[in-house]
Symmetry: C2
Subunit: 158 residues, 2 copies
């Protein structure tokens, strides 16, 4: 474990392109822990941390929340440095998420041509408006997920 393999929080932040405050936050959240502290209590990270951060940022771009990401990272082996195979297995899991999301957007786009493109925005027919395949969760979770499915609110008499 060469000291040259250890990076300060500022170095990690610069290399990973995140703020130092973000790294402290990630530590609080148990997402990225520093390898050790100096005598003077400064954080020192393994290069490995960069990979974790990369994973987190990428997963966020795919639409995952930190809780889900933490759950994913928890599957990494502890005790040993994750191998390429470990990371591959992990990222493969959100490949399907990504595919699903692309499919969703494409279906929205298709609906846009067929539905909104015509200006109808029909409440009872428009899949764009009535996504049966997804709950559009924005911000905090769990709000729409329960109860609000509001099934057949759309009167037959339109």
């Amino acid at each position: 474990m060469d000291a040259r393999d250890l990076l300060t929080i500022g170095q990690i932040a610069a290399r990973a392109g995140v703020a130092t405050s973000t790294l402290r936050y990630y530590e609080d959240e148990g997402l990225v822990l520093p390898a050790l502290r100096t005598d003077g209590n400064r954080r020192l990270y393994h290069r490995e941390a960069l990979r974790r951060i990369a994973f987190i940022r990428s997963a966020q771009r795919v639409g995952l929340g930190l809780a889900e990401i933490r759950a994913a990272l928890a599957q990494l082996p502890d005790g040993r440095t994750p191998t390429v195979a470990d990371w591959s297995r992990l990222s493969a899991t959100w490949r399907s998420r990504l595919d699903a999301q692309i499919r969703l957007l494409e279906s929205i786009r298709d609906d846009l041509d067929g539905c909104i493109g015509c200006g109808c925005l029909s409440l009872d027919r428009c899949r764009l408006y009535n996504p049966d395949d997804a709950a559009a969760v924005r911000g905090s979770g769990a709000r729409y997920l329960e109860g609000d499915t509001s099934a057949d609110v759309l009167g037959a008499n339109r």
Copy 2:
């Protein structure tokens, strides 16, 4: 303007599948205004409001924030009921947004095969990690299009 064309906040909420509190919030935000108030100060909406709400929810699914949506809605003619053409023109503006988002996700997927798929997560090369091609998906608010809610997307229960 038949009174039967006017709906209470509860009726609008039920038909549109949103909470009444959301409608009051949208009013505060200037997104959906009731047509008038009753003697007893209750809100009464035109059916037209349903279309506005449909537009808002759809635009949210495409990743727009309420500020952008408000700006879009501001382009609608005031004084007259928007026509099909008005709505079409409006929704066409986020068709390009949608296309861009799809392209972004596809490029992430391609990188996933070529980069994360190999476990590298290279910080300096990986486009997945260094998205130079799109405005960052920022903030807690408008996370893009969370595709579904199945908790095991990341294999958490595996």
